[in-house]
Structures are given as C-alpha cells and as structure tokens.
Amino acid sequence: MRNHQTTEDIALGIRRRVFEHAMRNNGGYLSQACSAAEQLAWLYNEELNLGAPTLPMIPKPFGGVPHADNPDYHTGAGYNGPFEPDLDRLFIAPAHYALVAYATLVETGRMAAEGLEMFNQDGSSVEMIGAEHSPGMEVHNGTLGIGLSTAAGLAWGRRRRGESGRVWVFMSDGEVQEGQTWEAIQACAHHRIDNVLAIMDVNNQQCDGAMDSVMEVGDIKTKMEAFGAVAVEIDGHDLDAMREAVKTPHEGKPLIILAQTNPFHTMPILEERFPRLHYVRFKSEEERARMNTSIAQSLGVDPIDYAH
C-alpha cells in the first residue's frame, strides 16, 4: 500500500481535497489541512505498518450505534487494515480533524473519492466529527483528551499479548489543556508503555483563537518530559524531521512528536482570518471568491467551480 506517491504529493493532495470541499460547502476545517497534512501523509504513507483495507472503498451508510440489537455493528477501523498482531493501529484523537483524515484515506488509496462527498451528509457514516463508525476511526474521540488514554490501554494490552504492532495517536495541542492528557502520560511512564507513539499538531490554535489568549499551556515539551514521556519538537512541515524524530530512543516511555505547525501553511490568505481559524466559514461571497482564487493558485489547481 505504500509509496505509490511521495509523501509530499500526498500532503498536497490532502490540502487540495480539503480546499475543494471547503469551497463547495462554504467553509470547513480548512486550517487543519494546512497544519496537519504532512503529519497524516507521513503516518499513512511511511510510518504506519498497516494492512490493506477490509471495508468497502465506498463507505457504507450509517449502520446504527453499538447495541445488543445491532449485531452487525462495526467501527471504521477496517480502513486502516485488519487487526493483526504485527500491524499498527491509529487513533485520530481530535475528531474534528476527520475531514483531513478522510482526505488522507482517499490520497493513500484506502477510500474512494466518493467517500469524501458523503461527508456530513444525513445518513452517511462519514461524519463531520469523526465517529467510531466513520472511515479510519476505531474509537470515539470527539470529546477531546481521551485518545491517548485509550491508546495507552490498548498498547499495554497488546504488549501483554505479545503483539509487536504499535499504537499511534494523532493529537492536537488543545488536548494538553485537558487534565486527562497528563494522566495518560503519567500512566504510560508508570507502566513503562513504550509501544504507544503520538504526533501532535502544535498549531497554537483552538476554537477561540490563539491558545495563548485562551489558556496558556507553557512549554509542552518540558511538561511532557516531566510527566514521563520522551518528547521531540520538530518543524511539522519538515518530513525529514519527522523521519528522524521517530528514531529517538524511548525505552519504557511513550514517544510524543511535537509537530510545530503553521495554521495557514500553503494557504497564506487564511492569515486574514487569524486568530479565528478553527472552522473557517466564509463571511461573504466576495471573501469566498477571493479565497478560492488565492488558495487555488497556492495549491496549483484551478479555482473550484462551486456554483455547480
């Protein structure tokens, strides 16, 4: 499944798809594509050891929630391949990054492009806030700060069962405001769980704007190390830096890569919207048109014909 395309190409493809989607829908989680495209492209195209998808390329409609009367219920994890002892698992902890994650599945050949068109449509499993039945998702993470804990438990269990596969978590920096994130690191350190690895999109942004204006979190790396993780800070748009960071020894500790990113990377016009980038909804047709022209040019595509 890997290396049909370069990771750079995949990152660009993710941004193009999210851009097209945001234009057609008059807004979306566009900034998250700017900040996180390299991280998700790198995970899926290089770092994760995943098997071929086990679920249909065109996602099935919503199939009900877990219930004793719903025996056919399954999660969307099959888009990341089968559960095998030697294969990795991935959680998208900030579930609002789902659009970017779905675009990654499309770019890496794990989901058909039609899947993205089902995004946030009534009756579809391709939900706006990734649900555990959404493509590529295995657990519900829309309530932020729970992903790393679940991953730690899964990692402990897999180690106990002698499995060599790792558990990866894609995290957001907003999550460090939640106390649970720190409890998770503490538990990993205490139980010497080192088969859990995370990459965090440190875009310095949250819903209300710049994190420093909402709730300062200080030096994340120092805090994480104090709680018992190995933390490595990198430029989150530098793939070589990611490739190096993951080699950092972390015996007995979780490895957390802090990807410092720019929330308007490759779409400089989005800076106009700073500091409110969490969900970009175009304020007027004029703005939409202007962003369309500018971002299309930045990404090397034609403007989106969103009227049709």
Binding site: A131, N141, G145, D208, V214
Partner: protein
C-alpha cells in the same frame, strides 16, 4: 410563519450581566459557539476564559461561588456534566453554589454525534440533589433564561437554544410553573425544549382529525409542580404522551411517570424520545425523524395511545402552521 429571532441569548446575557456585577461570564473555548464572543470583547473584566478544561472549570466556579460571585458557565451541555460530573457534585451541587450552567446544543440539536449530544443530561441533573433544571423552548424563554436561572438560590442547569430560534411565547419563564398551550380533553401532550414546536404542529393535525389535545410545555423540570400536572391528567380521557429531546429514561417522560405512579393514576402513558440508544451525527430534522422525535412520531404515538388510526400524513403536518397555535396561546394569555 412563526417569527425567528437571531441569537437571543447574546443580548439577554449581556443585559443581565451588566445589571448584575456579581455575574461572571465563564467560557470553555466555545465562546462564539455559545454567543458570548461580543460580551468577551466588550466586557473583558466580567469574562473569564477557562480553556478546554472542564473539570477544573467546574471546581473553579465552585470557588467563585464561595467568593460570592454568580458564574454563568458557557459550553455545550454535554461538556458541563459528562467529564466533570464529580466536580459538579462536590464543588457545586452539594454546597449549593450559585453557579448557572448554560448548556448549549441540547440533545440532537448538534450534528456532532455521540460525543457532542447531551441526551441524558436531564436524567443526570434530576438525580443530583440541589440541582435546579430549566429548559428553553423558544426565543422568549432564551431571553428570560438568565434572569430565571439567576433567581435560584443554588445551582442551576439550563438547556439553551442558540442561533435562529422561533418565538412561540410572549411571556418570560416563571420558574416553577408550566405553560398551558392548549386545553383539550382527549389526550395530554407534555413537551419541553424543541419538542414543543413539534407538538404544536401535531396539535393542529390532531385537532383536524378530531382529537382534542391538551398540551403542556415544561420550562421548569426541577423542581416540579406535580399538583398542576395531576389536574391536567385528570382533565383528559385518553391518556398522556410525552415527547422529549432526550432518552426516555430519567427525563420528562420519567418525571410524568413518577408523578402518575406516586399518585396512583391508572391512565395510559406513552413516552417518546430516544429509546435506550445513542444518537449519531446529522442534521436536526433528519435526526428528529430518525429517532422519532418529531411531529409525525407524536401523531403516531397518539394513535397508539388511543388505539385508533387517525390517517394523519406528513403533508397534513407540513401544512399545520405554528402561527395559528401561537395566536391561540396568546388568546389564552400565557
């Protein structure tokens, strides 16, 4: 058509907070989603940003209460009680701090799926000693929610509607009372929040099909005036039906069932709402249809209650304008 009011909470909160200097505006990184972004920008001294850290925020508000302030907590309803349940109990409910919890996007009014949908909040809060529960069903109730909540000597949980909200009523919330929307004598319909508008639509169609409807709207869920409800139950022949934007366990359906059982009322009761299920992401109209929370589900429920088909179709409901019921409500001086 019924009047739609844009962002009624925004103005109502500002007005109330400016008149009450001990009121503080607390936010958990959903400031514009809870319509308090202008307040933050215009009145920064009365605004505290607590970040995305709900557990700390709840105990912190307990401390503010101890210092004599009346914090209004703003975030999505679901984030006010699921994660910080223990903090809510120990720091706020037990010591009866005057914390006003403004829970936005109640039930399936959010497309965010399970993690964003507060579908059991009323059950949780009803079982919490000392907690008062209010729910808004229209713009007038949203406009009066701040004053109503702030009149309570203790903690309050409110389900608040945001964005474009219909105006169904013309009198403010009177805590402890209920609204009598119609006073027929075949069936008693009890609703709260967004299901009231559905019931108003259903009422028109039901009346046209020959069913005389008595309809109560609850804005005060706890404490609850059982006496008034009993009088209304006594006034109908055919039984009681509840419709709620919530699971049927522990919400207003349970509340009505408890009152009936406690008082030995042998009438039939149908409780409509989310039936022991989580919901999922989707538009409000789609989810209301999928989970049986809309006017159509209510008319089917009434058919079931009365044991007779009424032949009401979706078109009948689409044609049932809320405004007619609205003017009826006015005529009754509610």
């Amino acid at each position: 058509m019924v009047d739609m009011v844009n962002r009624p909470y925004e103005r109502a909160f500002e007005q109330h907070a400016l008149a009450n200097p001990d009121v503080l505006c607390i936010s958990a990184d959903l400031t514009s989603s809870c319509e308090i972004d202008k307040f933050r920008d215009n009145h920064p001294d009365q605004f505290l940003s607590m970040g995305m850290a709900e557990q700390n925020m709840m105990s912190f508000c307990g401390g503010l209460g101890l210092a004599g302030f009346r914090p209004f907590v703003h975030t999505f309803g679901v984030f006010t009680y699921r994660r910080p349940y223990d903090q809510l109990m120990a720091s706020i409910a037990y010591p009866r701090r005057k914390v006003r919890i403004m829970g936005f996007l109640p039930g399936i009014t959010t497309p965010g799926g399970m993690t964003h949908q507060a579908i059991e909040d009323i059950a949780v809060m009803r079982s919490m000693p000392n907690m008062t529960i209010l729910e808004t069903g229209d713009a007038t109730e949203v406009e009066s929610i701040c004053a109503a909540a702030d009149s309570i000597d203790g903690p309050v949980y409110c389900r608040v509607l945001r964005g474009s909200v219909p105006r169904l009523f013309d009198t403010p919330i009177k805590v402890g009372e209920m609204r009598e929307i119609s006073l027929g004598d075949d069936v008693l319909i009890v609703t709260a929040g967004i299901t009231t508008e559905e019931a108003m639509r259903a009422t028109r169609a039901l009346e046209a099909a020959g069913v005389s409807v008595r309809h109560l709207h609850l804005h005060t869920i706890k404490p609850f005036d059982a006496g008034a409800l009993l009088d209304h139950i006594g006034a109908v022949r055919g039984g009681v039906i509840t419709l709620e934007n919530h699971v049927t366990e522990g919400g207003i359906g349970s509340l009505v069932a408890e009152v009936m059982a406690d008082n030995g009322i042998g009438k039939k009761l149908r409780r409509l709402g989310l039936k022991d299920t989580y919901a999922h992401g989707g538009s409000r109209a789609y989810l209301m249809r999928y989970y049986g929370l809309d006017a159509l589900a209510l008319t089917r429920g009434v058919e079931d209650l009365l044991g007779q088909p009424l032949g009401i179709t979706e078109e009948d409901l689409a044609q049932a304008r809320v405004e007619a019921v609205h003017s009826l409500a006015k005529a009754e001086g509610l």
